[in-house]
């Protein structure tokens, strides 16, 4: 595929979607309220999540209409993630509407259980989490931490699962007598213990999950489970780039804004060339990240033949851009950047945790060695 076949822009419909999400977040998700939540025992804003999922129908973007969703594509999901990243909105969109939903879409959607869960997720009635460590990269071996017996009873442990504490359904990769499988397990099922961990990223909590003879329902058997899981991780990784773009763009805008007002030495600090050049470099990286993220989203939407390659490129590129933009944001705010009160740290924590999420940049570069035929030494 040549770049000429990729549509790297936003359609009018996508821009309308962006405006709707942005208006809602401006109204309901100001930095002050996100910050206040971090110190509370309700880190998620479930009211906001309901509005996004039910009223705006965003939970079902990836789900076909006949299964109760919006029948949109990864392109629209990317736009939503840009906005959610820009607000570090504490909602389980990535875990439920992207990761768990994509895993289900990789199962046989003609199956009653799969279709029913997809319908509940799409309508916003249920929220799900994909029970893998958030750090899991696409293309790896099928996880073996959870075993399932012939009766569909699960035992084992999964750590650092994103968005699990607010999920009522878990999509669990488990190894059974026939090999890899995906199971649906209700979060309140006896034998399921979900323990919140203390997360680096305050706005995307993680949890450790223990299964002790918990009853599950089969979603995918050996024939489809591996591909379904890997497809979900690939979709998640590719779309996480859009969220990282949103984080980076916020950090750039906020820093430009601050440096345009702060005065020292009788001048606006933003008139010092050393700082202008640093911001110009961040701008260039953000512009480039936008192209990379749009390419991944468009490729996922079209199931382009080089999707895996474009996802790896987007992750390898966008993750460090978000980190750098956030680091520059902290540094160029001076002392304020170091405070709990200023939201910059929320973005830094999100950026750094996202760099680890769904494969580090190094993992994605290693994947490219094979995808782009650049074999390692020796």
């Amino acid at each position: 595929m040549t770049a000429d076949d990729l549509d790297l822009l936003y359609s009018d419909v996508e821009q309308d979607l962006r405006s709707a999400v942005r208006d809602l977040l401006t109204d309901r998700c100001p930095a002050s309220s996100v910050l206040a939540r971090c110190d509370s025992d309700t880190p998620y804003d479930l009211g906001l999540w309901r509005t996004l999922a039910v009223q705006l129908g965003l939970a079902g973007l990836l789900v076909p209409e006949k299964l109760g969703g919006q029948g949109a594509s990864a392109r629209e999901v990317g736009v939503v993630l840009e906005e959610l990243g820009g607000a570090v909105a504490p909602v389980p969109f990535l875990g439920s509407a992207v990761l768990a939903t994509s895993a289900l879409l990789g199962c046989d959607t003609g199956d009653g259980r799969v279709a029913a869960l997809l319908g509940r997720l799409a309508s916003g009635e249920s929220t799900a989490a994909l029970a893998v460590p958030l750090s899991t990269a696409p293309g790896g071996a099928f996880p073996t931490g959870v075993r399932v017996d012939a009766d569909g009873v699960l035992s084992g442990r999964v750590t650092s699962v994103a968005d699990a504490t607010v999920a009522d359904a878990l999509v669990v990769p488990a190894v059974g007598p026939d090999g890899p499988a995906l199971y649906e397990v209700a979060a309140d099922m006896p034998g399921v213990r979900i323990a919140a961990a203390t997360p680096l990223d305050l706005t995307r909590p993680i949890a450790d999950i223990e299964f002790e003879a918990a009853a599950g329902g089969l979603l995918a058997g050996a024939r489809t489970a591996t591909a379904a899981l890997d497809g979900a991780l690939l979709t998640g990784a590719g779309l996480l780039a859009s969220e990282q773009l949103g984080v980076a763009q916020w950090c750039l805008d906020e820093t430009v804004n601050h440096l345009g007002q702060r005065r020292q030495f009788g001048r606006v600090v933003g008139s010092f060339q050393a700082l202008k050049h640093r911001l110009a470099d961040v701008w260039l990286e953000v512009v480039s990240a936008r192209a990379a993220a749009r390419a991944a989203a468009d490729a996922l939407a079209k199931t382009a033949p080089d999707t895996a390659l474009l996802v790896a490129v987007a992750q390898a590129y966008c993750a460090p851009v978000a980190v750098r933009a956030a680091e520059e944001c902290v540094q160029l705010h001076g002392g304020i950047g170091m405070t709990w009160e200023h939201p910059a740290h929320l973005y830094l924590k999100r950026a750094k945790a996202s760099e680890i999420a769904l494969g580090t940049p190094g993992r994605h570069r290693a994947a490219l060695a094979a995808l782009a035929d650049l074999p390692a030494a020796g």
Partner: protein, 400 residues
């Protein structure tokens, strides 16, 4: 802007027109220049130009479709490396500011490569601060008499015409006393002397202008408005250098990955990691320029082109440096230091040593990377400009 609200012919229509051209002009049986003329007259030269001037008023991003179809059919191209300054800088400026007469006279032979162009902007005393230029143009009836010295003029030794900026009003502040001209390089007052460069050859020149007579009909834009006209040239120059449409692994990365694949004995883990990083950066730069072209559709390039050029220079320098290291012992050798006067400006040709050295110019030519960062910070991000003392002072009173 979206992909749906474009005007002009779409990709399918362009493909149809290419087929029609190929039907009447079999590339295998048609003389090169004759084919190129037919292509120009069919509006398939630069599709975003207006009909009658080699285009069809189509989105700029669709040029790739035409180029790919023609290349696949084995059609000759207009050897863009030979005429880069004409295509990338003179043509868009003539299109925007030229009279009908100037457009009709110059654009066709320019695109066909019958007439090569060069750019007489930089001077010994005016590089980054181009608006400080000192070459004088004095009105004499229907003509202008131009005297001064230009420098770093790429390809002047092959050029038939030049785009030139000169000072017409020394009493005005520096940005306001400049006028833009088309200069005949065969005028007896034009003297071109080669300047040997870092690669050994003399791709650029110094150009001495002594009472060169330019008819007023070869003025581009209004008298005193040359700085504004020059902005069109400079924006397009940055886009032309940094915004070229490339296939995956096109450009500088192509040579490095070819060596990597062909010579496993040279590979080390450290070089592998750097190569993968640069491969990612190259692919992202390629996507970014594609995105800018999609955004431009038919409009003129803005400061985004500065960003593309900045990325291009950084990448070319990093990749060509890596390539020499990768070559190891072979990297100790250089192709040829002979002081040639090349026909083309070639960033990717010749050997790795040449590419490494030529890439050093990428962060200087067309505006240095420092100046481009200033432009991005001020015009895109809206940060305040440096305190300036020279802006409202008559040019003649500035310290030099």
């Amino acid at each position: 802007m979206t992909t749906t609200d474009r005007t002009g012919p779409d990709a399918a229509e362009l493909r149809r027109r290419v087929r029609a051209l190929l039907d009447t002009h079999d590339p295998a049986a048609t003389e090169r220049l004759e084919f190129l003329r037919a292509r120009f007259d069919a509006g398939l030269a630069w599709v975003h130009f207006p009909p009658g001037l080699g285009g069809l008023g189509a989105p700029r991003a669709l040029q790739g479709v035409v180029d790919a179809e023609l290349a696949a059919a084995g059609a000759p191209d207009n050897d863009p490396r030979r005429i880069g300054i004409g295509l990338g800088m003179a043509a868009p400026t003539i299109l925007r500011y030229g009279t009908d007469g100037q457009r009709g006279r110059f654009l066709r032979p320019l695109w066909l490569g019958e007439e090569v162009w060069c750019q007489l902007f930089s001077e010994p005393g005016a590089g980054s601060d181009l608006a400080g230029l000192a070459t004088r143009a004095v009105r004499d009836g229907d003509e202008w008499v131009v005297t001064g010295q230009k420098v770093w003029t790429s390809n002047a030794h092959n050029a038939r015409w030049a785009i030139l900026i000169a000072r017409t009003d020394p009493e005005a502040p520096k940005h306001r006393g400049i006028t833009y001209f088309i200069c005949d390089m065969t005028d007896p007052g034009v003297e071109v002397r080669p300047l040997r460069q870092i690669t050994g050859e003399a791709e650029f020149n110094e150009v001495f202008l002594t009472e060169v007579r330019i008819p007023d009909t070869l003025r581009l834009g209004e008298v005193g408005d040359g700085w504004r006209v020059a902005q069109t040239t400079l924006m397009n120059e940055r886009m032309a250098i940094g915004g070229l449409a490339l296939p995956r692994e096109g450009g500088m990365i192509g040579g490095a990955v070819a060596t990597w694949r062909e010579r496993p004995e040279l590979r080390t883990p450290e070089l592998h990691d750097r190569l993968l990083r640069l491969w990612v950066d190259s692919e992202v730069a390629r996507l970014s320029t594609q995105r800018v072209r999609q955004q431009l559709a038919m409009g003129a390039p803005g400061p985004e082109g500065s960003g593309m050029k900045l990325a291009f220079a950084r990448l070319n320098q990093a990749i060509s440096g890596l390539e020499l290291e990768l070559l190891g012992e072979d990297g100790l050798r250089y192709g040829d230091w002979t002081n040639n006067r090349p026909e083309t400006v070639d960033f990717y040709g010749r050997d790795a040593g040449y590419r490494y050295l030529r890439a050093k110019g990428n962060s200087i030519e067309g505006g240095t990377s420092e100046i481009l960062r200033n432009i991005i910070a001020e015009r895109v991000l809206g940060l305040p400009s440096e305190p300036r003392t020279d802006k409202d002072v008559a040019w003649k009173d500035l310290p030099r």
